[in-house]
């Protein structure tokens, strides 16, 4: 069928899309395949960081008691995460985690959004490295909070030993250990990564599929158009997924912190 290099050279559609479509050649050095320091993906991460920093610093340079429109917008993002995630999940003690949750939420939301923003059109979170970093931070955060709150022994006792009859504990403790301390970071990272990966793959399939059918047979042109219409529809779906996954990642992190802070199991 089509070779990757061949496609890039000829500007033709490669169908079906492969995993390799997620690993674009590096920008610096230009075109290198084994260099990952400065690629479109890492560039987008830096852009996201830059945009968020500039946006928040600019809109909160001179805060007023009666906010301007820009300040109000920045405040409502923070207020949303603070009140609807941190305080709702953790209670009043959640306010001190609100800054981190908001940073996390904004970062995930913006990097996710690159999946459907023209010219970016791929999310850095479709590379598992970035969700993994965020998941590890969440993992370290909730364990650290739990140990700090209860002390090492009591925290693990709280987390591992559910209030159940003793004869069921040999079954429950390994399950708790597995689900809380082993699966959590993986599920957190993989959920976000897989959603963004699959979303990008779907858009690729329908976009490239349209081109593939068109080049295979001119009579298939109406089906190609249908395929591209599907791409647009899926872009809306992708928008939903983008917002939802950013929200879910933040809520789950908050929920883990809440579980670590809780007195009882």
């Amino acid at each position: 069928m089509f070779g990757q290099a061949n496609v890039l050279a000829a500007g033709q559609a490669a169908f079906p899309p492969t995993v390799e479509d997620f690993y674009l050649p590096s920008i610096l050095p230009w075109g290198a395949h084994e260099s990952y320091w400065f690629t479109k993906i890492t560039a987008m991460v830096w852009i996201a960081v830059g945009v968020l920093i500039i946006f928040f610093l600019a809109s909160y340079r001179n805060p007023q008691l009666v906010p301007t429109k820009k300040q109000w917008f920045a405040e409502s993002i923070y207020g949303f995460v603070r009140n609807n995630i941190a305080v709702d999940m953790i209670g009043h003690a959640g306010v001190r985690f609100a800054p981190y949750f908001t940073t996390l939420f904004c970062f995930v939301l913006l990097t996710n959004s690159f999946a459907i923003i023209p010219f970016f059109q791929i999310s850095p979170n479709s590379h598992i490295a970035f969700p993994a970093v965020l998941a590890i931070i969440s993992y370290v955060l909730f364990n650290y909070i739990g140990i700090k709150q209860h002390g090492f022994v009591k925290y693990f006792k709280n987390s591992l030993i559910p209030p159940a009859p003793w004869y069921i504990l040999p079954l429950l403790i390994p399950i708790e250990l597995f689900s809380t301390f082993i699966v959590r970071p993986f599920s957190l990272a993989v959920r976000l990564f897989a959603n963004m990966f699959a979303g990008h793959m779907l858009l690729l399939v329908f976009t490239l599929g349209g081109f593939a059918m068109l080049s295979a047979n001119a009579w298939l042109a109406p089906v190609s158009v249908l395929s591209w219409v599907m791409t647009i529809a899926l872009t809306f779906l992708e928008f939903l997924v983008i917002v939802l996954q950013a929200y879910v990642f933040t809520v789950l992190t908050a929920s883990y912190v809440q579980g670590a802070l809780a007195e009882e199991h």
Binding site: Y36, I53, F56, Y78, F130
Partner: protein
């Protein structure tokens, strides 16, 4: 890392295996983001929220203080008014008592005066009566003697006897009148 060098210098990637370079980039970039936002932006937002809460609660507190002050002033004025009313009532009572006293004084004086006048009148009347009685006694004696002389036709020579007769007669008269 799981890199399989494919033919033609291409590598196949396993999407589940993270690239360590991206982990480094992601960590650094996210750390920078966290540092800036969590140090310079969100704490200030929290401060602004707090300032807003304070502004609203402070307004309420100020209104409450003003209300309390107004109530206190009202109480004070009411107390003052009540005091003034009591004073006025007291002054009125005093005045009434004074007037009564003065009236009593005047009345007493008038009564005294009238008593005095009445007493003086009585004295004068008694004196006049005594004078009249004395004069009448003389006159009646003379008239009676004259009449008797005319009737009897003879002058009663004995002055001493005549006087004793008349006096006896008059005493008899007076004791009859007094009875």
């Amino acid at each position: 890392m799981y890199f399989l060098a494919a033919e033609g210098g291409e590598s196949t990637h396993n999407p589940i295996i993270p690239l360590w370079q991206e982990i480094v980039v992601g960590s650094v970039a996210f750390a920078v983001l966290c540092f800036v936002l969590m140090k310079f932006v969100f704490p200030r937002m929290e401060q602004t929220f707090q300032a807003r809460v304070d502004a609203i609660e402070g307004g309420i507190k100020r209104a409450e203080a003003a209300q309390a002050e107004a109530n206190q002033l009202l109480e004070q004025y009411r107390a003052q008014l009540a005091e003034a009313r009591t004073d006025a009532a007291k002054i009125r009572d005093d005045a009434r008592a004074d007037a009564e006293g003065i009236r009593q004084d005047v009345l007493a004086k008038a009564r005294e005066e009238s008593d005095r006048i009445i007493a003086a009148g009585k004295d004068q009347l008694a004196a006049e009566r005594a004078t009249i009685v004395r004069e009448l006694r003389t006159e009646v004696g003379t008239i009676a003697v004259d009449l008797a002389s005319k009737i009897v036709g003879e002058s009663l020579a004995d002055e001493a006897r005549r006087k004793g007769t008349v006096d006896r007669f008059l005493s008899g008269l007076e004791s009859t009148g007094a009875r």
